[in-house]
């Protein structure tokens, strides 16, 4: 998992060295390839060698999103009570025979379930079994996953830790990383804006003013990018695929448009190029901070008749 952090922070630095807009067809190719992968470092390497022209962070982001979709699809299958029970029994029996082996990881790999999610299921079962009550509170469960040593069963704790550490798509650590990446990019955006001497209001200032919907940035003086007016900027530290983009559109981007006019979305890890089709309706997509900014000219010089 350290891996993913380092790779992602690397991208922030060396951003846009590689092309990050992918046409839909290519995205499908990647998507198909990714189907067989597991959320492990090894798999990430495979992915990178398969698509060397794409930045690792972009590939990771694509994989992560595709993998999440996959997990959601198979959720029902894994969450059936008898299935869960079976997983738990298997773990239990194997833990007795060869406790040192990465049992949960193996199991996860076997049934194509995210290690972190599997660990969660197992811990849940474990707690249920111990307390024989209706189930531990969510809070306790989350804490145990976050800090495995809280789990009374030391062996299980180790296995759980192994899972969360090795899963690059799920788990408390990944959540933290993702959150951090998001913040970092927002910060990056603000720095860039300051560098360019563009003044803006950020989310917090907007909230204080009572706005009901708040993009990351509202420019006090609009700019033009590629001939399109930009009032607001939303930073997304992820890859923009169809699914996530449509969700964002409905929950955020259109709302911003409806209130503040046209704006810009930066998908730092790239996006499916066909999605950038709402420019005329006020949503412009970019995979990095725009360099071709046109600002309102200062001074009366241009006004000459």
């Amino acid at each position: 998992m350290m891996d993913s952090v380092s790779s992602s922070s690397a991208t922030v630095a060396d951003k846009s060295v590689k092309r990050m807009q992918i046409c839909r067809a290519e995205y499908r190719v990647i998507g198909r390839f990714v189907e067989q992968l597991r959320p492990t470092r090894q798999c990430m390497k495979t992915l990178q060698t398969q698509f060397p022209h794409l930045p690792p962070s972009t590939l990771l982001s694509i994989f992560s999103q595709e993998y999440q979709k996959r997990m959601k699809r198979s959720m029902a299958r894994h969450h059936a009570p008898d299935v869960i029970k079976e997983y738990y029994q298997r773990y239990r029996s194997e833990a007795k025979t060869r406790p040192a082996a990465p049992l949960l990881l193996e199991l996860a790999n076997q049934v194509d379930l995210s290690p972190a999610l599997l660990a969660r299921l197992i811990v849940e079962c474990f707690l249920e079994e111990r307390q024989a009550s209706v189930g531990a509170s969510r809070h306790v469960l989350n804490n145990m996953l976050r800090e495995p040593y809280l789990i009374p069963d030391l062996l299980l704790a180790k296995h759980v830790e192994q899972c969360t550490v090795n899963d690059c798509c799920y788990g408390p650590l990944v959540d933290c990383i993702k959150h951090a990446i998001g913040l970092e990019h927002e910060d990056l955006l603000r720095d860039k804006l300051r560098e360019t001497h563009l003044s803006f209001l950020d989310e917090n200032q907007l909230r204080a003013k009572g706005y009901d919907k708040t993009p990351d940035i509202i420019l006090e003086v609009p700019i033009a990018v590629d001939g399109h007016i930009v009032h607001w900027i939303e930073s997304k530290a992820s890859f923009g695929d169809d699914h996530s983009h449509h969700t964002y559109l409905n929950e955020q981007f259109w709302s911003y448009c409806n209130r503040f006019g046209p704006g810009l979305v930066i998908y730092w890890y790239g996006f499916v190029s066909e999605l950038d089709c709402q420019r005329d309706r006020g949503i412009l997509l970019r995979d990095g901070f725009p360099l071709d900014i046109v600002t309102l000219c200062q001074g009366p010089a241009r006004g000459r008749v």
């Binding site: 609009p222 009032h231 046109v294």
Partner: protein, 1119 residues
């Protein structure tokens, strides 16, 4: 009387031309439905045929009204053609005229006439259109009737009436001539002829008797009218008996007989049905047309088929018959148009253009027919029976109405001026048109694809504190997005076939509205709705007409000739589009449709009520908006500069206010009358009940009061157009309510009295009002009987009580762009003419319309947008999310600073600059070979540059400070800087535009010119001095007087003599003295003999003398 005459005249013209127009389509076998449908439509609508929903009701009414024009009915027209009159008939007509029995003949028939006729006609029309066979039957019946005995008796009656009319009209013509509008009326004889023809129809009389002549119900004719002043007048005018007139009465008679009473009831029923149908269909006007048209055609065809002429006849001025009559007709017609006596001026213009572009039967045919049939049946002379006459008439009218025509858009003018018929018939008109086209600077531009701007979220009005609860706040947050979601969905899919608002969005819209109701946030949503409506629909609707716009451009570029070819080439790309005529029913073009459908679908009384409140409030506010005129109108010449600059702004502001008001008024009307809308006209009983019921409750807006006050304050140019929009939304019962009837009458009075008289109103202002009012009077909802029945004098007194001397009406506020934006149907002229150019080739049966490929370019890559445009966009965008007050402040400061700069420049700078220039001029004039004209130009340019610079410094010094002071302290620095720079730019722009407009043209140049003149005057005078020098008496001052010289010489000699010579020759001193005496004597002699003016000569002589003397003395001395 006037009132009855006008409708009659109109119908007469329609009838007359119907034949030509209908024939048109059929003649060229190739010209398929395109021209045909167009024609037919017009025809039908003219006819009063119900088939065309748009005009149906109207036309129907017309027919009835004028049913008098028996010939009017298509049938009769056909009949005519088949049996044109001959000379013999004319003769008979003459005899009839001369016969004393007129009056008597008249009296018997009159009462029943109208109704009978009407009935006869009626059925024929309706039947005819729908089922050809029947029509034929009718036709047969009629004809036979026509020849029946009745006819003879009838003749005389009409006669009398006619003559009366003629006289009166003649008077009218003269009157107008006095005004200067009309060309001199042709000699009385001819007048009579014409009049006779026109008014011989008994129906006129009938119409008179029954005021609401347009009504369907036939009213009994009262006999009063015919006898009023007729005969004497008739007699008094020396008549050369008209060749044709007699025919008319006969025809009238025939018609009368033909009318079979039994059919009347049926007819009425039919009419009623048709009407309701029409009303229903108003929204989709074109649907029905084709169906109806076809039958008509087939009927007509029979006649034309006989002689299939592949090429439509080429109108030839030499083949025009009855020129003088046509001239008279045209003049009459023009008077009616100029005096606003016709309900819709532009409809008439459209008609005239239709005549111009008519495809008539080929000459030979019609001629033959005419000859062959004339003896059999003399119905009426077919003045407009052939293309030549039609075109001639049309060109005459166009010439006469040139001022009106010249205000049409450039493309129309171009098409018109390049129309070969215009050229053939009147080259001067062609030239004038070409010239007008040149002068026509205004472009009807397709506005750039509008960016869908949202209504900005303003914390001041939209944040939580403006809502009663968190729930309301969050509900509204969601509903706002949902609403825009609908909008986008509608945009994406409403043009797909089969898409239906109700089906696609209905339940979701109602769900949304019900959530709003639950949260009680309708007022917020109503405000959002209204703002969004204005934002999207204020301008000309791009959405609906996007494909038309490139057409216009194309036309402008190519001109008529190449366009024809291009159009043909494009045929595969085109789809038929019927002409909708100049009076389409009210519609909701572009995005308006979304808002309309939304309201209809939501049908939420809370929302509607909030909207009504908001719309009313804003409308009245807009109506009160103050628009400034130029400060000193008398000093207009001198003030042009400043005035123009501010005037331009005010004009823009006005147009924005007007468009907004019209939009809001339409929606206010829509919402207000929505509850009463019915698909069919309710029956009488229901009507009465509804009227009683509804006249108790107060109307949503006191239209009458607003109107009156606007007349008094001379603000009709703003108020009338939006009131028209409001009233155009009336439901069936609406116009019958006393309140709205009063309002409509007020509008009528404004139309007839205020606008008809012209005068103080600015021409374009007047044109706009005439256009919108004319449209209102033609749309189905306007009661048919109203236009010709109201007495315009009723309230005129009150209206004339104008309190303010200066109002908006007198300001030049309307330009062509605004006119066409408000009245997109004026584009129909262009379409009509373009269709004519496209000619008969298009088979689709309508005007050619391009599929949109070209528009892709327009919309194209945003990269092509110029930087300039981007800057403007950015500037607009900047204001979008700022509080509105920021924009107001910036605009205000810019306006003031700019204006002050201009004043300053005028007061001081111009003088300085001119002085500087003067100096430069003087300096450079000293040099040899200076081209003064060039010098003048260059100095002018220098002055401009200096002025610009001064302006820029002045604005950039003043504007930022002012903005800074006026904006709140909390304004963020970047916003402040931007605001400052925008203000400075705006101010400079304003001042500069003034400068460039005036330095080069008026003010500075004028000042400079006078300075230049001064310098040039002084320079030549100094130069000429040399030439003049020495002439005249003043030369004496420059040369010492002779006597002085002599004195000097004397002294010299004296000294000389005494000091030197004397010593040498003492004895000879006397001799010297003697010599001197000789000289003196000689000089004195000279003085005496010569005139003082010739002293010069004397002087030379004297000088000579002196030198002689001296040399002599020398000799003497030496000797």
């Amino acid at each position: 009387i006037k009132e009855e005459f006008v409708p009659f005249l109109l119908n007469f013209l329609r009838d007359q031309s119907s034949q030509t127009l209908t024939h048109g389509p059929t003649t060229p076998a190739k010209t398929p439905s395109t021209s045909r449908s167009v024609r037919t439509q017009d025809f039908s609508d003219r006819r009063g045929n119900k088939s065309t929903p748009i005009q149906t009701s109207r036309s129907a009414s017309r027919v009835q009204l004028f049913s008098p024009a028996p010939s009017v009915s298509p049938v009769s027209g056909r009949g005519e053609q088949e049996t044109p009159f001959t000379g013999s008939h004319c003769l008979s007509g003459v005899s009839a005229l001369s016969s004393p029995s007129f009056s008597s003949a008249w009296s018997p028939a009159p009462r029943n006439t109208p109704s009978e006729r009407r009935s006869a006609q009626r059925p024929s029309l309706g039947d005819f259109m729908t089922s050809p066979p029947e029509a034929q039957q009718h036709r047969g019946r009629r004809r036979s009737g026509g020849f029946g005995g009745c006819a003879s008796g009838r003749q005389t009656g009409p006669r009398g009436a006619v003559s009366e009319e003629g006289v009166r009209w003649d008077g009218g013509g003269r009157r107008s001539r006095g005004v200067g509008r009309i060309e001199p009326v042709s000699p009385p004889t001819q007048v009579q002829l014409n009049f006779n023809n026109l008014e011989d129809f008994p129906p006129v009389g009938a119409a008179q008797a029954t005021k609401p002549s347009r009504r369907i119900n036939p009213t009994p004719v009262s006999a009063e009218r015919p006898n009023s002043k007729p005969k004497s007048c008739f007699i008094s005018t020396p008549l050369s008996l008209p060749a044709s007139p007699p025919a008319i009465p006969e025809s009238a008679g025939a018609k009368l007989t033909a009318g079979s009473p039994h059919s009347l009831q049926e007819e009425r029923e039919l009419l009623r049905k048709e009407r309701s149908k029409l009303a229903q269909q108003t929204s989709s006007p074109l649907k029905t047309t084709p169906v109806i048209c076809t039958p008509t055609k087939t009927v007509h065809r029979q006649g034309s088929k006989v002689t299939p002429d592949p090429q439509s006849p080429c109108p030839d001025p030499n083949k025009v018959t009855q020129k003088s009559e046509l001239d008279l007709l045209a003049e009459l017609y023009c008077t009616c148009i100029s005096e606003n006596l016709v309900p819709c001026v532009f409809l008439e213009l459209f008609f005239v253009l239709q005549l111009l572009t008519s495809h008539g039967v080929s000459v030979s045919e019609s001629g033959e027919e005419a000859i062959s049939f004339c003896e059999d049946n003399v119905l009426e002379k077919a003045y407009l029976g052939n293309v030549h006459n039609c075109v001639y008439f049309s060109v005459r009218v166009l010439e006469n109405q040139f001022e009106l025509v010249s205000h049409l858009d450039k493309c129309t003018l171009r098409l018109l001026s390049e129309n070969e018929r215009v050229g053939t018939f009147s080259s001067s008109l062609k030239d004038h048109l070409a010239q007008a086209q040149e002068n026509c600077t205004a472009k009807v531009l397709p506005s750039p694809p509008m960016f869908v701007h949202s209504v900005p979220f303003q914390p001041a009005t939209d944040n939580r504190s403006n809502f009663s609860s968190d729930r309301a706040f969050h509900t509204f947050k969601k509903q706002r997005d949902v609403f825009y979601g609908f909008l986008r969905e509608w945009e994406d899919s409403h043009k797909e076939p089969g898409w239906d608002f109700e089906a696609a969005l209905g339940s979701r819209v109602r769900m949304m509205v019900s959530q709003l109701t639950a949260a009680g946030s309708h007022s917020h949503f109503a405000r959002l709705f209204q703002k969004q409506l204005i934002q999207m629909c204020k301008g000309p609707c791009v959405l609906g007409s996007s494909s038309d716009a490139p057409d216009a451009d194309l036309l402008g570029m190519l001109g008529a000739d190449s366009l024809g070819r291009l159009k043909r080439l494009q045929q595969r790309l085109v789809q038929p589009q019927g002409l909708i005529g100049p009076c389409p029913p009210p519609s909701f073009p572009g995005h308006q449709e979304f808002f309309k459908c939304f309201l209809q679908t939501a049908s939420c009384c809370q929302l509607n009520q909030h909207l009504k409140d908001g719309l009313c409030q804003q409308l009245l506010k807009l109506d009160e908006v103050s628009i400034l005129g130029p400060d000193a109108s008398p000093a207009r010449g001198e003030e042009t500069g400043d005035g123009d600059m501010e005037q331009q702004d005010e004009k823009q502001r006005f147009s924005s206010v007007l468009l907004t008001a019209r939009l809001l008024a339409k929606f206010l009307g829509f919402i207000s009358f929505l509850p009463y809308q019915t698909s069919e006209l309710p029956s009488r009983d229901i009507q009465d009940t509804a009227i009683t019921l509804r006249s108790k409750s107060s109307p949503v807006l006191d239209v009458c009061a607003v109107l009156r006050s606007s007349v008094h304050r001379r603000r009709t140019i703003l108020t009338v157009p939006w009131i028209v929009e409001f009233l155009s939304m009336l439901d069936h019962i609406g116009p019958l309510l006393p309140f709205y009837r009063t309002a409509l009458c007020l509008l009528l009075q404004i139309y007839k009295m205020l606008l008809g008289r012209g005068g103080e109103l600015c021409y374009m202002n007047q044109l706009l009002m005439v256009a919108v009012l004319g449209w209102l009077f033609q749309i189905p909802i306007f009661p048919e009987d109203l236009f010709f029945s109201t007495d315009p004098k009723e309230e005129v007194k009150e209206l004339e009580n104008i309190t303010s001397s200066q109002g908006l009406d007198t300001l030049p506020l309307v330009d062509q762009q605004l006119l066409y934006t408000c009245c997109p149907y004026l584009g129909e002229f262009r379409k009509l003419l373009a269709a004519f150019v496209a000619g008969s080739t298009s088979k689709s049966g309508g005007l050619i319309r391009k599929i949109t490929p070209t528009s892709a370019e327009l919309r194209g890559p945003s990269t092509s947008r110029s930087q300039q445009k981007l800057q403007v966009d950015l500037e607009q965008a900047f204001f979008h999310n700022q509080p509105p007050s920021l924009r107001r402040t910036v605009e205000f400061v810019a306006e003031r600073v700019g204006s002050n700069c201009v004043k300053h420049i005028k007061a001081t700078l111009v003088l300085e600059l001119v002085k500087g220039g003067e100096k430069t001029l003087r300096d450079s004039l000293g040099l040899e070979g200076v081209n003064t004209a060039k010098l003048n130009d260059s100095i002018c340019a220098q002055l401009c540059d200096a002025g610009m610079q001064a302006l820029e410094t002045a604005t950039s010094e003043n504007a930022p400070g002012a903005v800074r002071v006026l904006l709140p302290l909390e304004t963020s620095p970047s916003v402040l800087t931007t605001a400052e720079s925008i203000t400075t730019r705006l101010a400079t722009e304003k001042a500069c535009s003034w400068l460039s407009a005036n330095i080069t043209s008026t003010l500075l140049k004028r000042e400079w010119k006078s300075a230049f003149g001064r310098v040039m005057k002084s320079v030549p005078s100094s130069v000429s001095l040399d030439a003049e020098e020495g002439e005249g008496s003043n030369c004496t001052h420059k040369v010492p007087l002779g006597s002085e010289v002599m004195i000097e010489i004397k002294v010299i000699i004296a000294n000389w003599v005494s000091e030197k010579l004397y010593k040498l020759v003492k004895t000879d001193s006397l001799k010297t003295g003697g010599l001197l005496m000789v000289i003196y004597t000689k000089y004195n002699l000279m003085l005496r003999n010569e005139k003082s003016t010739k002293l010069l000569k004397g002087n030379t002589q004297f000088t000579q003398l002196l030198s002689e003397t001296i040399s002599y003395q020398k000799c003497f001395i030496v000797n």
